[in-house]
Amino acid sequence: MPGRRDFLRKTAILAPTALIIACGSSQSAALPLAAAPAYAPKYFTQDEWSFLYAACGRLIPDDEHGPGAVELGVPEFIDREMEGAFGHAAAWYMQGPFAAGAPEFGYQLPLKPREVYRAGIAALDNHCRRQFNNNTFSGLETAAQDKLLTDLESGALDFEDVSGKAFFGFLLQNTKEGYLADPIHGGNKNMGSWKMIGFPGARADYIDWIDRHGVRYPMPPVSVSGQRG
């Protein structure tokens, strides 16, 4: 597994858009991604895309418990979200004045999520270049990547232009969303996470199982699109 992870990481640096094909070829038949055309990011630049692959791979890694965020297409999900209402904060109150407050009052920055990603990735990669011999985040060993993510999460690592905590917060929130949401949004390819945890997805009719107490529901998941797992 470490060898494969290294392969993924290095491939991500060199040619991120080729990654899905590479990933599919090295993965089991359960992930028929090799057949799908590689997703080309619409919002993120190639450098940002490399970061996103590396970070998603650490937040939800591919391991013996099941597929990881990269394998399930979470970077694609996040890229699509950046272009949609979420990325543009279209349903949030974004009028000033902007003032800092206690954490209980939630997000109070003037930046939209897509701007937080852009500023956050740039700031993190700049930090990495200074600290790690001109390497960006995606070029680091996984242990160093995990340490950086942990420091962002705790606030130990923060930036002038953007809150490290807010950046990490969106990154983790969106990674989990992409991992667990319906595949129609670009992540959770082939309903990989749903199969792992046992969620039947969009079946949304359990009249035949409400009285089967203590008996595991037997049907595999379906997607809103009609895809069956």
Partner: protein, 590 residues
């Protein structure tokens, strides 16, 4: 100045959710020409809630497709009057409705009445525990209306909704199987209880063994096919697990769309105008009578709609803001305690226990209804002696499995990391085997928890946002500790592999980020004293007799239950007073 002045109507309804639909039905039945103004879009079961599109957690449950878009209007929040309030920029601790049906589209259908003693809380506490039991700064009041007076209207609303449940008290006699603590019902529920999920049966068994009195939660999710008194039809709930935050695709959840609109929308004396955002209620020169309302229509024009009767049917927070923006009633001043608009804002305090079972006990968490489950009411209201406990209020405890939507409803054991291999391992091992028990508790009203207009932040029309000043108080921390520890006892008796008890503790502040409940109440309290209430016991404003204010803004403090049964009952009670008394002789009803 208005761009357009519309022909006068008999009555205008501001907001078209549950109370707007109820009032629309009642006032058109009385022969009035009624116009309802709804700021959001029209929506109906088909196509807006149709399967499979509705079974999409991200779009509806997380990105809030059916809720208010906060970009144009929100409110600001602070903990104390010394703080600077900050905008509620994203939906968090409560979720505001929008569009036809309002919150009535995406509620759970938890359909409670109210406990008789809660309607006369101040009097009741003084009678049983003495005046000194009410702490300094707590401003609890009586509602000014009794349970007996409201009973016919509770009954009517339950029959409109096709509520599923089992009576525990029929005409004063406690009957087997229901809630023995409830107020007397004049007849059985219109439908039998919903079937229980596995976890609810485990809860009921453990609660019974501990000597408590479990019963099925009253649910406006139909357990059988049903035709209501208006002729609207409901289908049986299929436990889809996409209820709260979603519209119901099988016509099982009672909503304005499923129970009232099929009939109301056909009436010739009723007109609905969507995308019509009311700016203010207009008053005559003396400020004692409304002349109608002004609103911005879908094309951005300012419209004046004259009306003989104005009924505010928006969400409590919005009703209060409209009263303040319109200059109806004296704004509340926390320094002096004088004034009534914005007074006694309150909320509810939630706690709970998460249980994790061995793999021989799958809970199938995705099998869920909005309101089906088992409850105990032993620690709600005044069903236990508060004297040694030193707090007022209580809450119900129960297992309501509303769904296992994996982004929002993933429940994990204590100390699970937020990400990485261990997080993934935890969701894999626990998702199917987790169960949540909740404690749903009262919050009293206080002199320094209130609503007013924000001096800084404005909406898309340039008008001041509402400002909420609110934080938790010692009484509520004591309440939730007591009730949630009782829940933990029940949880232990259910023999989980592990459990996590969630209790708010002294020092915790109101947190606007994580969802808690949308039971925001008060701000325009009802009562019999114009010095301490904004509306009288018929929900008529003291200051302008042809303005009525529906909804939970009328609560002088919060109750232990979910509010909709009482809100619906109060709307019908108010409608009856309008029909029987007010229309015959317009003027103050008190």
């Amino acid at each position: 100045m208005a761009d357009i002045r519309k022909p006068p109507v008999d009555a205008v309804l501001v907001g078209f959710g549950w109370t707007g639909a109820i009032m629309g039905m009642e006032l058109t039945e009385a022969g009035l020409n009624v116009v309802a103004l709804e700021r959001g879009e029209n929506r109906d079961t088909y196509p807006d809630f149709a399967y499979p599109r509705i079974a999409d957690e991200l779009t509806y449950g997380i990105r809030n497709k059916l809720f208010q878009n906060l970009s144009r209007e929100t409110l600001t929040i602070r903990h104390t009057s010394k703080d600077r309030a900050l905008p509620y920029r994203q939906m968090g601790s409560f979720i505001l409705g929008d569009g036809v049906g309002g919150g009535g589209v995406h509620w759970n259908g938890q359909h409670w009445r109210v406990l008789p003693e809660e309607l006369r809380l101040r009097s009741h506490v003084i009678e049983r525990y003495g005046r000194n039991f009410i702490p300094e700064g707590m401003t609890i009041q009586d509602f000014g209306v009794s349970y007996q007076e409201l009973e016919p209207y509770f009954d009517k609303f339950e029959n409109v909704c096709g509520t599923s449940g089992k009576a525990g008290n029929l005409n004063g006699k406690v009957v087997e199987g229901g809630n023995p603590f409830e107020g007397a019902r004049s007849r059985e529920f219109p439908l039998p209880p919903l079937a229980d999920v596995y976890g609810a049966t485990l809860f009921a068994k453990a609660a019974t063994e501990l000597g408590y009195h479990p019963f099925s939660e009253p649910a406006s999710n139909a357990s059988r096919a049903y035709t209501n008194p208006y002729g609207a039809q409901l289908g049986p709930c299929n436990f889809c697990g996409f209820c709260e935050r979603f519209g119901c695709y099988v016509y099982a959840k009672a909503s304005p769309q499923t129970t009232i609109l099929p009939v109301l929308m056909k009436k010739k004396n009723f007109e609905l105008r969507t995308r019509s955002h009311v700016l203010r209620v207009n008053l005559d020169k003396r400020g004692r009578r409304a002349t109608g309302v002004s609103y911005i229509d879908a094309q951005g024009r300012e419209i004046e709609q004259p009306a003989e009767l104005v009924v505010l049917c928006a969400f409590p927070l919005h009703n209060v803001r409209l009263l303040l923006l319109s200059g109806i009633g004296k704004p509340y001043d926390p320094k002096t305690g004088h004034g009534v608009i914005g007074r006694n804002y309150s909320y509810q305090m939630m706690g709970g226990v998460s249980l994790f079972f061995d793999h021989d006990k799958p809970m199938n968490p995705f099998i869920g209804s909005g309101a089906g489950g088992q409850i105990i009411d032993d620690f709600n209201g005044d069903h236990f002696d508060h004297a040694p406990l030193g707090f007022i209020g209580g809450g119900y405890i129960g297992v309501i499995q509303t769904g296992g939507r994996p982004i929002q409803q993933m429940t994990l054991p204590k100390d699970t990391p937020q990400w990485g291999t261990k997080w993934k391992q935890a969701i894999k091992e626990n998702y199917l085997y987790s169960l949540n028990m909740m404690t749903h508790g009262t919050v009293m009203s206080y002199r320094d928890n209130y609503l007013d207009l924000d001096p800084t932040y404005r909406d898309g029309y340039g008008l001041p946002l509402l400002r909420m000043t609110f934080d938790w108080k010692p009484n509520e921390f004591r309440m939730t500790e007591f009730v949630t520890n009782k829940a933990a006892d029940i949880a232990r008796a259910m023999s989980p592999k592990s459990m996590v008890v969630k209790i708010k503790n002294p020092g915790d502040h109101y947190d606007t980020r994580a969802y808690q409940t949308t039971h925001n109440v008060g701000g325009a309290p009802m009562g019999t004293n114009p010095q301490t209430s904004a509306v009288n016991r018929y929900l008529q404003t003291w200051d302008a007799h042809n303005v009525f204010v529906m909804g939970a803004s009328a609560y002088p403090q919060n109750i232990g239950y979910n509010p909709m049964g009482l809100v619906g009952g109060l709307a019908l009670w108010s409608a009856n007073a309008i029909r029987r008394q007010y229309l015959k002789k317009p003027g103050p009803l008190m």
